[in-house]
């Protein structure tokens, strides 16, 4: 946290931090410009402008013939299905790991007051550390890398997409679940504890009711992200709309790309709407 001196610029105690930060940032940014081979001229030379014109002319009007639209029903449905099943697996992975990764459940705080330090570290801290490490690996490897590996393991189709979303999002859900559980107000728990409730009682009647709305809300929010991810995973052969978008783009069928984007927009919008309505219901 910032010291009070940093928070009030009028204070006479000046910190060098902002200046150091600005210099470091400018330096990193300048080096990054070179490493990323940024060259704005490329955007405005004749060839690029020609390509933009070609793209726009090709994309308008979007392709709306019934045959093409009929062909999209299947991948569109698949995109939703992958996101839903991916979330199911993510919850199945994330919930138990998230519980283990919650220090207030495994080894710290009022649930463990009567346990010796040694037993706490042996029985609680070890699974806690393992669960946190596993969650970190799950979420730090991007979905598409998981998808590429699962395509290798179980073959092309929607199943590897489901597994990829399940593992990557399981890692995110587990981390956030544990953060939600740790942020629960401890006072109701202490009251339950003082009233003689056992551990299970404290968890079931104190911890979970406080945490559940946030858990459900965050899971639904992640579903909104999963539908976008599920569309992307098609690029690596894991089913859904992405596969079709890449195909149309590579064949320079820009009118198909525009239609596909519109369908994607519709799907994402529908999921956002449903999820938003349920979230409004769950968290007031």
């Amino acid at each position: 946290m910032a010291r009070p001196a940093d928070r009030f610029p009028a204070s006479t105690a000046k910190s060098a931090f902002p200046y150091l930060l600005a210099v470091a940032f400018a330096l990193t940014f300048a080096l990054s410009l070179r490493a990323a081979q940024v060259d704005p001229r490329l955007l405005f030379d004749a060839q690029a402008l020609g390509n933009v014109a070609r793209f726009v002319r090709g994309a308008l009007p979007p392709k709306l013939d019934p045959e093409f639209l009929g062909m999209l029903a299947r991948p569109a449905a698949e995109t939703i299905q992958i996101s839903v099943m991916g979330m199911v697996i993510a919850v199945l992975l994330g919930a138990p790991l998230g519980l283990l990764a919650t220090s207030s459940l495994t080894w710290r705080g009022i649930l463990h007051e009567r346990v010796t330090r040694r037993a706490r570290l042996m029985l609680g801290a070890a699974p806690y550390g393992a669960a946190r490490a596993l969650l970190s690996v799950f979420r730090s490897i991007p979905e598409y890398v998981w998808a590429l590996m699962f395509v290798r393991a179980v073959g092309l189709g929607p199943f590897p997409g489901v597994l990829a979303i399940g593992v990557a999002y399981g890692g995110m859900l587990g981390k956030v679940y544990s953060e939600i559980l740790e942020a629960v107000n401890p006072r109701p728990l202490e009251t339950l504890h003082a009233a003689g409730a056992g551990k299970a009682g404290v968890v079931l009647y104190g911890l979970l009711p406080e945490a559940l709305p946030h858990v459900v809300s965050y899971t639904l929010y992640r579903w909104e992200c999963a539908i976008r991810a599920s569309a992307i995973l098609g690029f690596v052969g894991a089913g859904g709309l992405g596969q079709q978008i890449e195909l149309s783009m590579r064949m320079f069928q820009f009118d198909e790309v525009l239609t596909l984007l519109a369908v994607l927009l519709l799907l994402v919008g529908t999921v956002d709407f449903i999820s938003g309505r349920i979230r409004a219901r769950v968290v007031r």
Binding site: F29, S32, L33, A35, F55, P142, F159, M249, L261, R277
Partner: protein, 279 residues
């Protein structure tokens, strides 16, 4: 928004549970998920064999150098892309903020005429629409488009991240601008400050720490996205990952995965530290 939500009937919990249940059943059927086969002895053995094949990571000088170059490129794409995103988002967010354009404390004293008001409504609608289009098209599709426009390499990756994230940040920035505490603005107004001054000294100082915080958060998202864009030829680690998987270079693949892991973790830590300093 809340008034609308309240006036409509809320969905019953049973309807929600039944609906979600049906959705899961339909999805289970459609994705041909075969958990039995995956978790069978044979399935688990195959996964074990595959994971074992990844080890040990290729730590030869050549592989490490290659991974380091790709990691630097990915980092650069994410950083420049995020800065570009903030530059795109800021002006569009100003245009997408009703309280700056035509509504609220700033306009309490003097009403706008009909023509200026219509013009400002137009600016608002246009900014909102542009932001929506920018953020609705996924990064990877933007990357495909920019690869088509400017050719292969990390630069189209930067543009793709900048444009998509610009749309996301613009929406978030706009929400921040509309949600600032109105009391300092009223205080400024009562001293006779002009609209420009109120925006400069009342609204922006409240909003900028939030802007920085959101931009840092999106940087964390973008470092992951930058590792994906290589898939369509937009440079960075993604391209190498794709090659390594396609050519069955499992040991190199693990090196690259470790590089992604290390970089993502570092950026997360750096961003969290900076956010704690800013807010």
């Amino acid at each position: 928004m809340s008034a609308v939500a309240l006036s409509r009937r809320r969905w019953s919990p049973w309807l929600i549970v039944a609906g979600l249940g049906a959705l899961v059943g339909w999805s289970y059927h459609g994705t041909r998920v075969d958990m039995g086969a995956l978790l069978s002895v044979e399935g688990l053995r195959q996964i074990g064999v595959y994971v074992a094949r990844l080890f040990p990571p290729d730590l030869s000088a050549g592989a490490l150098r290659d991974a380091a170059i790709a990691a630097v490129e990915t980092f650069a794409i994410s950083l420049v892309g995020s800065v570009l995103a903030a530059c795109i988002a800021f002006p569009l967010a100003l245009g997408a903020t009703r309280t700056i354009l035509y509504h609220g404390v700033l306009y309490e004293g003097q009403r706008l005429g009909r023509a200026p008001k219509a013009l400002r409504l137009g600016v608002y609608a246009a900014s909102k629409t542009v932001l929506a289009v920018l953020r609705t098209v996924p990064e990877i599709v933007w990357a495909l488009i920019f690869v088509f426009v400017v050719g292969l390499g990390p630069f189209p990756g930067v543009l793709a991240l900048g444009v998509h994230t610009g749309g996301v940040l613009g929406k978030l920035f706009g929400e921040v601008l509309e949600d600032v505490d109105p009391r300092p603005l009223e205080a400024l107004q009562s001293t006779g400050a002009s609209r420009l001054r109120i925006v400069l000294y009342g609204i922006l100082p409240q909003a900028i720490p939030q802007f920085v915080s959101y931009a840092l958060y999106r940087w964390e998202v973008n470092i992951r996205a930058a590792a994906i864009l290589g898939l369509v030829g937009a440079g960075g680690l993604g391209q190498r990952v794709y090659v390594a998987i396609s050519l069955f270079l499992e040991h190199q693949l693990l090196t690259l995965i470790l590089a992604i892991y290390v970089m993502v973790t570092l950026v997360d830590a750096l961003s969290a530290w900076l956010r704690a300093r800013v807010l």
